[in-house]
Symmetry: C2
Subunit: 193 residues, 2 copies
DNA sequence: CGCAATTGCAAGCAACCACTTGCAGTCAGG
DNA sequence: CCTGACTGCAAGTGGTTGCTTGCAATTGCG
């Protein structure tokens, strides 16, 4: 109904599929069910549209923040990780495209990744609190562990439909394995039980 | 000197920078210092050239295989990981582009990733042997640990120039942290010492 | 009703795209 | 010297690109 919204939505979809150069104003207009001229009347240029469109979806579907005080670390981390994994899968094409477009349009990737980077801070904060509470060992870099968990989950998610898995694995199993390894590496008390 | 080689080299560079649609035959010919017509006489089409070019660099600069029998696990894994990290950084643009191009050209990403996937098998084999030798604990999925190490290193490498690091970190420090965490998660004997 | 904002439509613009054709120049091998 | 392989150059094909212009139709609001 809302022309502007339809254009933003269509622009994101086309951009995720075909990249900047593949995203022609005609294609966007077609997918939005709108005349091409209307696109220019609303946004002025293809560049302005795509930038607005990418910004409008950045941070969508990110998992909720972790609790202030850790109680069941394993359950909480698995829940958070599953959310992040789902986010990566849902926006896989868009994330991949934004990363590749970094050379020509350096503004897009930071916008796309910003939510994830902030989420990392949240995990570090959570783990720091867990360490203060004596729930994990005092050794090991929490920043490195967080980065490791995040990188693993995100890359697994954005290559989910690309990389063939010899053993069929559900997101739950994959994420569960990753979290267990991270907890063990941090010396979580009774991590594997 | 060799026209064909120059075209392949130029095609990879332009493709990594500008993606499939940005890689015009004129740009390739210019960078190769060759007439555009010569390109078509050699490869027939833009598609054939790019595919040949991507295939010609796939697997370049991959780290050497791990030894059959683990001795110093930490040193060996760090060496291997540094090699993989350097590979990811060196071919970051090309890897990012190939991943993004998966929607339109599904053949490129598998070619680009094939070497890394084979390398993962090698790591699993190495860790399995280490476990048989009693160098790491008997619990924990070696496949998951390998995937975790690989994903972390690769994503760290291909976003090395994109994601701002609040704390400046050298590849050696980053990789060292990751390997230490993995070893601890696998219960490597005296991993941290 | 009357006015203004929004939209669709048809047409066109110059620039660029992959790719082709024809011709002339160079250079090594017989 | 002659031939064949390789190359450069100029020109042109039909198609697509981002973007503009002019005009008619619709809609909501006072």
């Amino acid at each position: 109904m809302d022309t502007r919204e339809a254009l933003l939505e269509a622009a994101v979809e086309v951009f995720a599929d075909l990249g900047w150069r593949g995203t022609t104003t005609r294609r966007i207009a077609d997918r939005a069910g709108v005349n091409e001229v209307t696109l220019f009347r609303h946004f002025g240029s293809k560049e302005a549209l795509i930038e607005a469109a990418v910004a409008s979806v950045a941070g969508r579907d990110l998992p909720p923040r972790l609790p202030v005080d850790p109680s069941d670390i394993r359950a909480e981390l698995i829940g958070w990780s599953l959310g992040m994994h789902a986010h990566a899968i849902r926006h896989a094409k868009m994330i991949r495209t934004s990363l590749a477009e970094f050379e020509e349009h350096p503004g897009l990737a930071p916008v796309t990744c910003d939510g994830a980077i902030q989420a990392m801070d949240d995990v570090v904060r959570y783990l720091t609190r867990a360490r203060a509470l004596g729930l994990i060992a005092t050794e090991g870099s929490l920043e490195a562990a967080t980065m490791m968990l995040m990188n693993t989950i995100v890359l697994d998610g954005i290559t989910w439909d690309i990389i063939p898995r010899r053993v069929p694995v559900t997101p739950g199993e994959a994420v569960g394995n990753f979290v267990d390894l991270i907890l063990r590496s941090l010396g979580a008390t009774r991590a594997a039980e």
